[in-house]
Symmetry: C2
Subunit: 327 residues, 2 copies
């Protein structure tokens, strides 16, 4: 048994994003994945990712676009055993810029798969970050695992196409893929991105920081959440799961917490008090209400639960995770 079989080379594409950074920190902190020691980890993103100050293994950061000439070839030279593919533009941007969305979210993913296919005898685990936006209305109250893929956004379309490619490349033995459909990650730290779902985080995060937050939808709006910590654990679990158990359907809807805005606010009040909650200002925005009304509210996620993916237990826990990890 050689060293390369015992230890893991990792590649994280999209490492400068919020989940990418948290995954990087987590791997640096534990140094293991599925019982195997990590020997090296390469980070790549369009802006240069930060490397954690302390890691018990080699951590390299690269700045660049996955479609740039020669970059993927170079990244795959080390034959990473596990590739986390988190790179992409968010829903708002993909809807606003048609070409950019297809280039970044679809073409770059296909190019990654093609470059892997080009390497004889190489079959890495590819963990692909997908989204509940692969689904579209009309929804049943609870969306089952075998629900139709009928996205209603360009972002959801691009992710659904990547899921289909991931499945076919895996079926043909060209890579060993698993797609992880993440719920809306909440509470997002830092500043908002361009996603229309941003307010679900800001109404918790900003009042906790003593700042006012705008709530653009009604209190009855129900949505599907995961903490950043659980999202990272999903990716970690997906990296080491026996993919034979997926029985050919390689993308999984992740479990989450279904909560209304009213339930989010009640949890915030239980944890931080009424004064904090008073910092939420109701200012309905018909455009955001329209977008959010098109999103699913709850998933069965039976397959992922059976495969050992564990969600947060409540929205209270999601807020507590935020306080522990960010403050």
């Amino acid at each position: 048994v050689t060293d390369s079989q015992d230890t893991l080379h990792l590649l994280i594409a999209g490492a400068a994003g919020m989940i990418g950074r948290k995954l990087t920190s987590r791997i640096a902190a534990i140094g293991y994945l599925g019982g195997r020691a990590v020997s090296s980890c390469t980070l790549v993103d369009v802006i240069e990712p930060d490397t954690p100050a302390i890691a018990g293994f080699a951590m390299t950061a690269r700045q660049g676009d996955l479609c740039a000439d020669g970059l993927l070839e170079c990244l795959l030279e080390e034959r990473p055993d596990v590739i986390f593919h988190l790179a992409g533009v968010v829903s708002g941007e993909a809807e606003h810029d048609f070409e950019k969305g297809y280039t970044v979210n679809m073409d770059a993913t296909r190019l990654l798969f093609e470059r892997i296919r080009g390497i004889e005898g190489y079959r890495p685990r590819v963990v692909f970050a997908s989204t509940a936006a692969v689904y579209g209305q009309p929804f049943p109250d609870q969306v089952p695992d075998d629900f139709i893929l009928a996205p209603l956004t360009s972002y959801g379309t691009q992710k659904a196409i990547c899921e289909l490619l991931l499945n076919d490349y895996s079926r043909r033995g060209l890579l060993d893929g698993i797609g992880v459909r993440l719920p809306t990650v909440c509470v997002r730290p830092g500043t908002p991105n361009k996603a229309a779902s941003g307010f679900f985080s800001s109404i918790i995060r900003d009042p906790l920081n003593g700042q006012e937050a705008v709530l653009p939808v009604s209190d009855e709006t129900r949505h599907w959440f995961v903490s950043p910590r659980s999202a990272v654990r999903f990716l970690e679990h997906a990296a080491t799961l026996d993919t034979g158990l997926l029985e050919g359907r390689r993308s999984l809807t992740m479990p989450g917490v279904s909560a209304t805005v009213a339930e989010q606010i009640a949890a915030l009040e239980r944890i931080a008090g009424a004064d904090v909650v008073r910092l939420i200002r109701r200012e309905p925005d018909p455009e955001i209400e329209r977008i959010v009304a098109g999103w699913p509210r709850r998933f069965a996620a039976d397959r992922a639960l059976a495969l050992g993916f564990v969600a947060d237990s409540s929205f209270d826990e999601i807020i507590r995770v935020h306080l522990e990890d960010e403050r």
Copy 2:
């Protein structure tokens, strides 16, 4: 009202294939589509399509690959009002030749959509020939319209991806698409193509021609059929349907006849007698049995039925259509 608004320019891509030829003949024979006169029709395929001897309008044939430099630009110069996109390689070939399948079935379709998008103010009806192979096992006894897209072949993957693109380009107003998932076309005239489903036709066609035919699967095998004539009527109806009725889900599973091989053979005996049926030789082929076992047997097709798509009434009718149209 100018002439170009009153009459129709048509483009048929994949016009040299069996369905393409039958669609061409049908349009040449009737000269109308949805109550509007056809003023011109361009045919294109990788082998030069035949133009019918008699047509009351201009019929032009072009030979070429849709991805060839400048060909699509040239074909779209006339701004066809309706584009029938039937071009592609069949399931066996797409499975055998990974790159060819993706290039012909996926890249060429996307290029067509992109060239249409590149023309300001142009929004043609695009009728896309899709397939029941966008679905994969495990199947319920009858597959509903909202069943999961989970193909188990590269061919089905490529078609499913094109359906997703068709939907997104249509949603964004870049074209006016409709996807038509055809059942297995039976009885196919002429010589078999590379599809594993070929025997479903040859066990009818060849005995009717006094020739022996090999049946590689059991008599209990159930499958989903449409006559070439009804398949062409589906495309015709799709070209003129009000796509607003599709409510954003632009691909439709077509109705068909669900029959076992035993029911096919019983129909053949009713129509042509016991001597003809004796020309069917049973020679089980485990590879074909395995492939066919993975195919769906029956669809609800409720949406297509509600939208006025009409299937053959029985397998007897499918054989009678074959005798009328081919002999």
